[in-house]
């Protein structure tokens, strides 16, 4: 199976994924006041009823605004015109929310379009892999006319004309146009780093790319469509919420429409009461009736709903994750099981030295010294970690390879499975001379036996013990007296064992604990043997592990989980991950991965950082929470609006109803106006929240519900009482409002 190793990926290596814990709060870009100004023309453009009808709540507000405008033209009063203006503003604010959300995507889309320059491709006709590229076979065609299966040659400095796989050659590629990451990445034929994206630039060497996209359906094309929200479709939960909002709207329309006969009757029963701006012999005036409807129908959530959805996708884009559909983002919030690759996600890409365990009568420091010597020229991360460990734990000065003039370093090869150093004696008369080797236990022990030595009895025990605890043992041995001519002078002995261990990224245990409290089960996927896998799983705190995993095992595990009604999320990059990525409810493909993997998943992580799966889940949840919280807030707001408007309408007829005017609003007109103004302003005030998402702290469902109910339920009840009163305190001074 394939694993993603962060250090193999130059883009990823710039950030050490383990060193900094991602911020607890899922951040979105803050609202830039300039954005508001820039989006204002769009907000007015969106008043067009042919597009607005898709948002039924705001469409009704617009109809109400048109109707009151007509009424205000007929009977112009300051009160009527103020209501008209604020009703229009309500719609404009709602449009503004959507325009701002879209505006952020548009900016990103523009940047992407620049990458989509019209390149000319050099297509190879009749070329087969392995053949020499014949200049005669190259034909120049415009990039958009390339078909799936065409092969093109790209050289340093040229743009790759379309998405495809490298089938010959290796090159460094600048993918900053799509990832925003300036460090180049390596793309080579074969394996899991063969995919290239159209619009990126080759920096060195020459590669031959087989095009895998259809014309006009390139990755960049899809990215542009996504961030612009061009074909944004409502997600399942959004549809359900819209049904609820529509039915609430109908209920309130009904409650207000049926009020009219009751109002006429009540007014007729008290003939002595003079007509007011709210009520006359024909019942409640049109302006006030519309105001009541607009205040009651769930305008707050209706205005912000689409902005919340767009902003949710946008938050993913800002983290360099592309979701192919909103449905996938929503599914991420519902995930029950996370399949996480061990390497790169749970552990750092490499193993590190953790202990030097001497065997026989060898001293610990002697072992450390030999281990360090043997690793000085070893540039693998494991080798470097041995040098570092010797220095930090045993205080051994870090020697550079050059300062040992007599040393010859022996590099690791797959045949010898050892590396080390040969130290010549300073002079022939000194005797001595020394060879040190470190490597896999079987190889080193064989080397010792070859040189006439034997391994102490405890060597085997130490080696097995390390394996059982999830580590990798490296045996260190030396042969001395190599300068002596006769082999009789040589002594070979095992010095000890270096324990290499997978390093679990810091903070992972806490993250998995959070996941558990959210009801998400984490499963570690690894190619290690079960013993090692269990040790690492225990250390990292995952709930379960799948050892010696093959792609088939992975697919079977996903299907098993799904049969139990669970939703599964996973990351993958290799072609053999594709079936599992397609099967998973949320499949995040790494951008470094193959085209097949990217095609199969429903998200692509441009940073190729598998840890991001956790963030994706959080963003999905935050999206739903924001919708739920603002719905609750919107409905809870209605209580205060009733207490403002009902007494304003009817206290003249039934003075007892003035008791309901618990905010003690200045006058009936100011009360109604205050409710309408508050209703509009709250939309504007909540745009930042809708774009950013509500605060999300991973915790269990009960705690989260309690918290959000208090803030948005109870808060939604209380805030409008205060808000409407404050507006009333100001507007009573407007001339013309009694």
């Amino acid at each position: 199976m394939s694993t993603v190793t962060v250090n193999e990926n130059p883009a990823g290596s710039l950030r050490d994924p383990g060193s900094s814990r991602p911020p607890r709060r899922v951040q979105g870009g803050l609202l830039d006041p300039k954005m508001l100004v820039r989006s204002t023309p769009d907000a007015f453009r969106k008043l067009n009823p042919t597009t607005l009808w898709r948002n039924p709540v705001m469409f009704i507000v617009e109809i109400g605004a048109v109707f009151t405008t007509a009424l205000a033209i007929r009977d112009a009063t300051a009160f009527a015109w103020l209501i008209v203006v604020w009703l229009w503003l309500t719609v404009v604010f709602a449009n503004l929310a959507e325009a701002v959300a879209e505006g952020r995507g548009k900016a990103q889309a523009d940047a992407l379009r620049k990458a989509k320059t019209d390149t000319v491709a050099r297509r190879l006709a009749g070329w087969e892999p392995g053949q020499v590229i014949d200049a005669a076979r190259i034909e120049r065609v415009p990039a958009p006319s390339l078909l799936k299966g065409d092969r093109v040659v790209v050289e340093a400095g040229e743009f790759i004309p379309g998405d495809g796989d490298v089938i010959e050659g290796i090159a460094s590629v600048d993918e900053s146009a799509i990832t925003g990451e300036s460090a180049p990445v390596i793309r080579e034929s074969g394996g899991d780093r063969s995919a290239v994206t159209g619009g990126t630039r080759v920096l060195s060497d020459q590669i031959i790319v087989e095009i895998t996209q259809k014309p006009g359906e390139s990755f960049i094309d899809r990215m542009i469509a996504l961030v612009e929200g061009a074909n944004r479709q409502k997600t399942p939960n959004e549809v359900a919420l819209n049904i609820l909002l529509a039915s609430l709207t109908i209920i309130f329309l009904l409650a207000v429409a049926t009020l009219q006969p009751l109002a006429i009757f009540s007014k007729a029963q008290q003939p002595g009461v003079p007509d007011s701006a709210a009520l006359n012999a024909n019942g409640v005036t049109g302006i006030v009736l519309v105001s009541l409807v607009v205040c009651l129908i769930p305008t707050t959530i209706g205005a912000l709903l689409s902005a919340i959805g767009i902003a949710g996708m946008d938050r993913l884009v800002q983290r360099n994750v592309l979701a192919m559909s909103g449905r996938a983002v929503e599914a991420a919030g519902d995930v029950n099981t996370l399949l996480l690759d061990k390497t790169g996600t749970i552990t750092l890409g490499n193993r590190e030295a953790r202990a030097f365990i001497p065997v026989g009568d060898v001293d610990e420091h002697e072992l450390a010294d030999a281990a360090q010597l043997s690793s000085l020229a070893d540039e693998t991360p494991e080798g470097r970690s041995i040098v570092v460990f010797a220095k930090t734990t045993y205080g051994l000065r870090e020697r550079t390879a050059g300062e040992l003039s007599t040393a010859t370093f022996v590099a690791f090869t797959a045949q010898t499975r050892m590396s080390g150093v040969d130290l010549a004696a300073p002079g022939p008369q000194d005797g001595g001379g020394r060879q040190i080797r470190k490597g896999a236990a079987t190889a080193v022990l064989a080397w010792v036996r070859e040189n006439g030595g034997t391994a102490p009895n405890d060597t085997g025990q130490v080696v097995d013990g390390i394996s059982a605890s999830g580590g990798t043992p490296l045996v260190v041995a030396e042969v001395t007296g190599t300068s002596a001519d006769e082999s009789a002078g040589r002594t070979a002995r095992v010095l000890g064992v270096i324990q290499l261990k997978d390093i679990v990224k810091s903070g992972m245990r806490e993250r998995f604990d959070e996941m558990r409290s959210m009801g998400i089960r984490t499963v570690m996927i690894t190619g290690d043997n079960p013993l090692t896998a269990r040790a690492i799983a225990d250390e990292a705190g995952v709930d379960d592990f799948l050892a010696e995993a093959t792609p088939q095992d992975k697919l079977a595990l996903i299907k098993r989980e799904q049969d139990g009604g669970k939703l599964v999320a996973m990351t993958g990059d290799g072609t053999n991950d594709a079936p599992a990525l397609a099967q998973a409810d949320v499949g995040v493909a790494m951008n470094t991965g193959t085209s097949a993997a990217k095609e199969a998943g429903n998200m692509v992580d441009l940073d190729s950082n598998p840890t991001k799966l956790i963030e994706i889940v959080e963003i999905g949840k935050q999206l739903l929470i924001t919708r739920g919280a603002l719905t609750t807030f919107s409905i809870a707001n209605d209580v205060a609006k009733y207490f403002a408007i009902i007494p304003a309408m009817f206290a003249a007829v039934y003075p007892g109803l003035d008791k309901l005017n618990i905010m003690r609003l200045h006058s009936p007109e100011s009360a109604i106006l205050s409710a309408v103004i508050f209703n509009a302003l709250i939309i504007l005030a909540l745009i930042p929240l809708a774009l950013r998402g509500v605060r999300y702290t991973p915790s269990n469902a009960a705690a989260m519900l309690r918290r959000n109910l208090y803030i948005y339920g109870l808060g939604g009840l209380i805030i409008p009482f205060i808000g409407i009163k404050l507006v009333d305190l100001v507007i009573q001074f407007i001339p013309g409002v009694r």
Binding site: A240, I251, G565, Y642, G656
Partner: protein, 553 residues
Amino acid sequence: MNTTTAGIIFAASLAIALGLTYRPFGDYMARVYTSGHHLRAEKVIYRLVGVNPDADQRWSTYLRSVLAFSLVSVVFLYAFLRLQGHLLLNLGFAGMEQGQAFNTAASFVTNTNWQSYSGESTLGYLVQMSGLAVQNFTSAAVGIAVAIALVRGFSRNRTDQLGNFWVDLVRTVVRILLPISVIGAIILIAGGVVQNFHHVQTVATVAGGEQTVTGGPVASQEIIKEFGTNGGGFYNANSAHPFENPATWTNWLEIYLLLAIAFSLPRTFGKMVGDTRQGLAIVSVMVVLALTSMFLVHGFQMAHHGTVPASVGAATEGTETRFGVPNSATFAAATTLTSTGAVNSFHDSYTSLGGAVLLLNMMLGEIAPGGTGSGLYGMLIIAVLAVFVGGLMIGRTPEYLGKKIAAREVKFAALYILTTPTLVLGVTALAMALPGERANMLNSGAHGLSEVLYAATSAANNNGSAFAGITVNTNWWNTALGISMLLARFLPIVFVLGLAGSLAQQKPVPPSTGTLPTHRPLFVGLVAGVALIVVALTYFPAIALGPFAEGLH
């Protein structure tokens, strides 16, 4: 012992008795609907009707069975009422006029039992006994059957089978309603409720005047009137009549009976979905709402400011002195909280705010605890909506008992919630807009409006109690309320069964700590809050112009 203490003991003992019933009775009902065994009597019925009792039905078939059965019931009862003059034991009464016969047939088949007639002066014993009393049994059983089908929607997975309506109907009658009614009727007879076929008797009163006394098979109808949350009285005075409700302890028993099934069904629900805590949560919501309402009615009735109430210590107008104000308030709250609509006092005479609470009880949609069956399914619909909003707030696609609440489920729940307010407000507005119907109002001002609102609310919530104060035996009222009762009963049943079908098809999502817990106090509060806020927002303007306008000074 003063009346207040007595009233508290009366209400508290009721609560304790219902609490003791909850578990055994709920478990018994769960066994009734999950057992694979058919009684011999039931087999006979199945053979007569021609149904295979072991074949389950899809939701649409279940629905067709409910509608077909109810349609036959309406037609049969209508004919019965119209043809009374030609039948036995008619006490000399002629057939009912067509508008009223339609209204009465609709009323009894929908478990509303709104009565635009006066029992003792309109109907003979045969119609009362084999027309109305039969519907008292079957309409109650239909409600329970539909509720059980919804419960099966939650408890069953990946199936389109919701059980068999005919089996549920027959078992409800044979195993639950009939046995308890027989015992209960005998107890009521012992308490002084009449049960005879005497003709109308003329007796001399102590004061020397003459009075006609109608007897009849009262106890047998009285028992199911309460137990099946029907509420249609044998006499016009309903449970205030001494032949229907002779003593304080029969009053207690009647209240207990009308609450028993509705308060125990949540246990049946919990048992059938395999988690009795879920049932406890649902019944807790019912208890919270019912106790609040009970407390408010008592408060407004006992502490009313006004010359007469202040001097006698309570609002005694319209109450039977045999029962007193507290026990009447308990009865009134219980009868409006369930869809019973039986009365032992005159609701129109309640204080404005006390009456407003009775009105609100019905506007809650008869869910605390509601009618037999309809209370449970109504409450589960509210719970589904609460789960939807609450579920979003914890960042997951909402799920209730492992079933996802998605667009389809929300659609059915929303349509359910829309139906009743549309009918209540529609009929009220129409009546207030039409000059002819306004002329039928006997009272003017806010109180007159309250009476119209009460009538519309009572019919559209299948309650059947009345504020009176309007001449409702007119063609318009009979027809409007008859249609309203039918739509208010059967449209929600369509949506409930649709929801049940959609839930049963799902494969369940296993619960985890990330799942919204639906058995904790927090959820109880959320459901109660959703119920209250939906009602308050829908009816606030109408209530403001009715009881509030009258009651706030």
